[in-house]
C-alpha cells in the first residue's frame, strides 16, 4: 500500500465531481453555450439513435465511473502532495485528465463514432479541430470536477472524536502459509519484541482523533498481524488496546472490541506487553491537564488487569516525556498548549496516572512486570554561547523528569527550582517517598531524531545518530540503575532499515557486555505507520515505511533481517535464559 485512502470518501468525491460537471454543462447549454457534450458522446456509443433517457443514463453512468476512478487516482497519488487548500489541490490535479481528454480521448471518441470498423487516420481525425468554446468548455468542466473532488476529499484518516467507528475486532482469515500453530510460552528468555503502532491523540484542538490502529487496518486484520509477528519469531509484542474506544465512561468498558484478539494472544502468543495509555485519552476525560486523569486511568488499569488476569507485562503510560512535550509544550496533540505550567501539569498527571495504574494492577496481579518506556533524548549545545549551553543543560535535565517522578529519583537543583517555580515541589516530594515495584524495567526508545542540537537561535533540531543508543541509554542506566530494555526503534528509509536494525542490535550487545542488565530489544513496529512525518498532525494518510511488514502485510527487508537476527541468537545460552529477566520475573 502506498497511501491510506478513504475509498468511500474518494468515490463520493469523484461521483459528485462528475455530477457537478454535468449539472454545470446542462445549465450552460440551456443558456446557449455550445460545448463538447461528453455524456452524450459516451451514451450514444451504445445508443446512437436511442431516446435521450437511454443515452443520457448510460453516458452519465460511464461519466460517473470515470470520475470515481480519477478521484481514486487523486487520492492515491496527488492528495496532500502540496500544502495548498484542498480545492486548489483538486484544481491542479484536474490538469492531468484535461490534457488526456484533449490529446487522447477526444480524437478516440470521434473514431469510435465512425460507422466503419477500420479507419485510415488523417490529421483531422488525430487532431480534431475544436472551437475555442469547446476547448474552454472542456477545461472549465475539468476545473469544476477538480475543485469538487478537492473540496470533498479531505482527512482520509482519523475521525471526529464524537463519531468513533463502530468496531469489533473480528477474526480475519489467516493467510495461507502464515501463522503456523503456536502456543504462548511465557519464559525468561531474552525478549525479542515488536509492537503494533497504536497512538490515538486528538489534533485540531480536539476536533479530530488520530487512531493508528484504525489507519493501519489492525482492527480488521489483527489475526493476520499476530500471525506475522509469530512468523518473524518475536517472543513479545508491545500491544496497546484503544483506551479511547474501550473506556467509554467511568465504570463502563467496551471490552468486546479486544476480547477475541486478547484471547488469541493468550492462546498463541506472542507474550503481550500491554500499553494502557498511548498518547491519548477518551473524549470524556478531556486532556492531560485534567486532574481526574490519574484516578480514571487507575480505574481502567485495574479493570483491565481483572479482566485479562493472564497478562503480566504492562506499560502504564507510554513515553510520558514525549506525550507531555507534544501535548503541552509543542502544541501538537490533545490540549495543544505551549506553556511551561501546562507541561508541568501534564507531566505530573501522567506520572501520577502511571503510579496509580501500577498500584491498581498490582492489586489484581501482584507479580506484574512494568516496562516503563521512555524516549531516550539528548540535547547537544551547538556552541559555547552561555545561553545555548544553559538551554541544552536544562533540556538534558528535563528529559528525565517523568522518569524521575515514577522511579522516585531526586532531580537536580535547577529542576527543583523549576518545579518550585510551578508550585509542584510538594507533589515532587511525595513521589520521592514512593515504593517503586521490584519488577520494573526501564524501557529506552531510540530513533535517529532523539539526539538534538540546540541551534544558535535556540531552536532545537534533530541531529541524527551522534553518540548512538549505547551512550544515551547508558546515561539512563547510570541515573536509575534499573533493568533495561530497548523498547522502540525503526528507520524511515526502508532501504536503510536492515543496516539500522543490526547497528542497534550491536549497541544492545555492547551494553549487555558492559554489564548492564538488558532484557529485550524491539523493532517498532510490526507494520508501517501513518503520518509520523508530521507527528500525526496532518491527516494525510502518508505511509511511513518503517514496519517489519508493509500495510499489505508483505514483509520488508528489515522483517527478514529481524527474523535472521532472532534465529541467530535466540538459542544462545545467554539469550535462551536471560539471567537479568529471570531475576525480574522471579
Amino acid at each position: 500500500m502506498i497511501r491510506v485512502v478513504a475509498f468511500r470518501k474518494a468515490a463520493v468525491a469523484g461521483a459528485a465531481g462528475a455530477l457537478a460537471w454535468e449539472g454545470a454543462f446542462r445549465i450552460a447549454k440551456l443558456a446557449g453555450f455550445e460545448g463538447f457534450d461528453l455524456v452524450r458522446s459516451l451514451g450514444t456509443l451504445a445508443f446512437p439513435d436511442g431516446p435521450w433517457p437511454a443515452w443520457w443514463g448510460l453516458g452519465l453512468a460511464a461519466h460517473v465511473a470515470v470520475g470515481i476512478s480519477w478521484a481514486l487516482m487523486y487520492a492515491y497519488f496527488f492528495w496532500a502532495r502540496f500544502e495548498w487548500k484542498p480545492p486548489l489541490q483538486g484544481l491542479a490535479f484536474s490538469v492531468v485528465p484535461a490534457v488526456l481528454a484533449l490529446a487522447v480521448m477526444l480524437p478516440q471518441l470521434r473514431l469510435m463514432h465512425l460507422p466503419q470498423p477500420i479507419a485510415q487516420l488523417t490529421l483531422d481525425l488525430v487532431l480534431p479541430q475544436l472551437s475555442i468554446m469547446e476547448i474552454a468548455g472542456l477545461l472549465g468542466s475539468h476545473a469544476i470536477f477538480g475543485l469538487t473532488i478537492g473540496a470533498l476529499y479531505t482527512r482520509p484518516v482519523g475521525y471526529r472524536p464524537d463519531r468513533p467507528p463502530a468496531l469489533v475486532c473480528r477474526p480475519t482469515r489467516r493467510r495461507a502459509g502464515r501463522g503456523s500453530p503456536s502456543v504462548r510460552q511465557p519464559g525468561s528468555g531474552f525478549m525479542f519484541a515488536t509492537g503494533i503502532e497504536c497512538s490515538y491523540p486528538t489534533t485540531d484542538h480536539g476536533r479530530w482523533r488520530r487512531d493508528e490502529l484504525a489507519g493501519t487496518d489492525h482492527y480488521s486484520r489483527w489475526a493476520e498481524d499476530f500471525c506475522c509477528a509469530r512468523d518473524i519469531g518475536v517472543t513479545h509484542l508491545r500491544y496497546g488496546p484503544p483506551l479511547h474506544l474501550i473506556f467509554t465512561a467511568p465504570g463502563q468498558y467496551s471490552w468486546e472490541i479486544i476480547d477475541e484478539a486478547m484471547a488469541d494472544l493468550e492462546a498463541h502468543g506472542p507474550e503481550p506487553i500491554v500499553d494502557l495509555c498511548h498518547f491519548g485519552l477518551p473524549n470524556w476525560l478531556g486532556d492531560f491537564q485534567n486532574r481526574e486523569v490519574p484516578q480514571a486511568l487507575a480505574e481502567y488499569a485495574g479493570a483491565f488487569a481483572a479482566r485479562y488476569q493472564w497478562v503480566r507485562f504492562y506499560t502504564p503510560v507510554n513515553e510520558m516525556y514525549v506525550c507531555a512535550r507534544m501535548s503541552a509544550l509543542d502544541g501538537r496533540w490533545n490540549e495543544q498548549r505551549t506553556d511551561e505550567p501546562s507541561f508541568v501539569t501534564a507531566v505530573f498527571n501522567m506520572a501520577e496516572a502511571s503510579a496509580a495504574m501500577t498500584d491498581a494492577i498490582l492489586v489484581r496481579r501482584p507479580d506484574a512486570v512494568f516496562v516503563n518506556s521512555e524516549s531516550s533524548e539528548f540535547y547537544q549545545p551547538c556552541c559555547p554561547d552561555p545561553e545555548i549551553q544553559s538551554r541544552a543543560s536544562f533540556e538534558n535535565e528535563r528529559r528525565f523528569l517523568p522518569l524521575d517522578l515514577i522511579f522516585a529519583h531526586e532531580v537536580g537543583e535547577r529542576m527543583l527550582g523549576y518545579l518550585r517555580e510551578h508550585g509542584r515541589e510538594d507533589d515532587y516530594r511525595r513521589f520521592l517517598g514512593r515504593q517503586v515495584p521490584r519488577r520494573t524495567i526501564l524501557g529506552v526508545d531510540y530513533y535517529e531524531w532523539n539526539e538534538r542540537l540546540v541551534a544558535p537561535n535556540g531552536e532545537i533540531r534533530a541531529l541524527g545518530e551522534l553518540f548512538g543508543w549505547y551512550v544515551i541509554a547508558n546515561q539512563y542506566f547510570e541515573r536509575y540503575g534499573r533493568t533495561m530494555m530497548h523498547t522502540e526503534t525503526n528507520r524511515s528509509d526502508a532501504a536503510d532499515a536492515p543496516r539500522w536494525l543490526w547497528r542497534q542490535w550491536h549497541n544492545v550487545q555492547l551494553l549487555r557486555n558492559a554489564g548492564v542488565p538488558l532484557v529485550g530489544f524491539t523493532w517498532y513496529s510490526l507494520t508501517d505507520q501513518i503520518d509520523w512525518a508530521t507527528a500525526l498532525q496532518r491527516p494525510d494518510g502518508k505511509v511511513d515505511p518503517v514496519g517489519l511488514f508493509d500495510l499489505n502485510r508483505d514483509p520488508r527487508a528489515v522483517g527478514l533481517s529481524f527474523k535472521h537476527l532472532i534465529a541467530m541468537h535466540r538459542d544462545e545460552p545467554e539469550y535462551r535464559q536471560c539471567a537479568a529477566l529471570a531475576q525480574v520475573l522471579g
Binding site: M112, P117, R499, H506, N552, S561
Partner: protein, 173 residues
C-alpha cells in the same frame, strides 16, 4: 508518481516473485479482454489490420500481455500487491498501454490504419478491463508464489553484514 512510489521501495517485497506472478496475472487477465474483443468484433478488426488470423492474433496477444503483466508487477513493485487498489493501478496501466499501443504504435506500424467504430471501443475497453483484472489478480497470485520467510531470512544479505555502511567506491579494502 515515480518519486512517490520510490519512497516505499521499488522492490516488490523481498519474498515476492513479481515477474512470474505478473506474467501469470497478465495471461489470466487476457481472458476477459479477449472476450470483450470477440463480442465487439474488435478481434477480427485487429487481425485484419495486423494481417493475421483470429487465432494467430490471440496467440501473439496472450504472450505479449503476459510480458506486459510482468513489466507491470516489476514496475509498480510493492504497491502492486495492494488487494484494495490493485485494480485501479492495473486499470491505469491498461489505459497507458492502450494509449501507447493501440492509439500510437499500431497505426504507425500498419500504415495509418486504426480500429474505428465499435471495434475501437472494444479495443479500449478490453485493455482497460485487462489492466483492472491484472491489478486485481496480482496480489492474490503473489501470495502462493512468494518465497517462504524462513528461506528468505537465511539469505546472507539479511544478515549482520547489513550493518556495514554504504560507502560505495570509497569502501576500504
Amino acid at each position: 508518481m515515480a518519486r512517490f512510489l520510490s519512497a516505499h521501495g521499488y522492490d516488490p517485497g523481498p519474498t515476492q516473485r513479481p515477474l512470474v506472478a505478473g506474467a501469470l496475472a497478465g495471461a489470466l487477465a487476457s481472458a476477459p479482454a479477449v472476450g470483450l474483443l470477440l463480442v465487439t468484433g474488435a478481434l477480427a478488426v485487429e487481425a485484419r489490420i495486423v494481417g493475421t488470423s483470429l487465432l494467430g492474433t490471440i496467440a501473439i496477444g496472450v504472450p505479449v500481455m503476459a510480458m506486459a503483466g510482468a513489466v507491470y508487477a516489476r514496475l509498480f513493485g510493492r504497491p502492486a500487491n495492494d488487494p484494495r487498489a490493485g485494480w485501479l493501478f492495473g486499470m491505469a496501466y491498461g489505459f497507458v498501454l492502450w494509449a501507447a499501443g493501440a492509439v500510437l504504435v499500431l497505426p504507425l506500424v500498419s500504415g495509418g490504419k486504426a480500429a474505428a467504430g465499435t471495434a475501437a471501443l472494444g479495443v479500449f475497453l478490453s485493455l482497460v478491463v485487462w489492466g483492472a483484472a491484472l491489478g486485481a489478480l496480482l496480489p492474490f497470485l503473489q501470495r502462493p508464489l512468494q518465497e517462504k520467510l524462513e528461506a528468505a531470512a537465511k539469505r546472507s544479505r539479511t544478515g549482520p553484514t547489513e550493518a556495514l555502511p554504504q560507502l560505495g567506491s570509497r569502501t576500504p579494502v
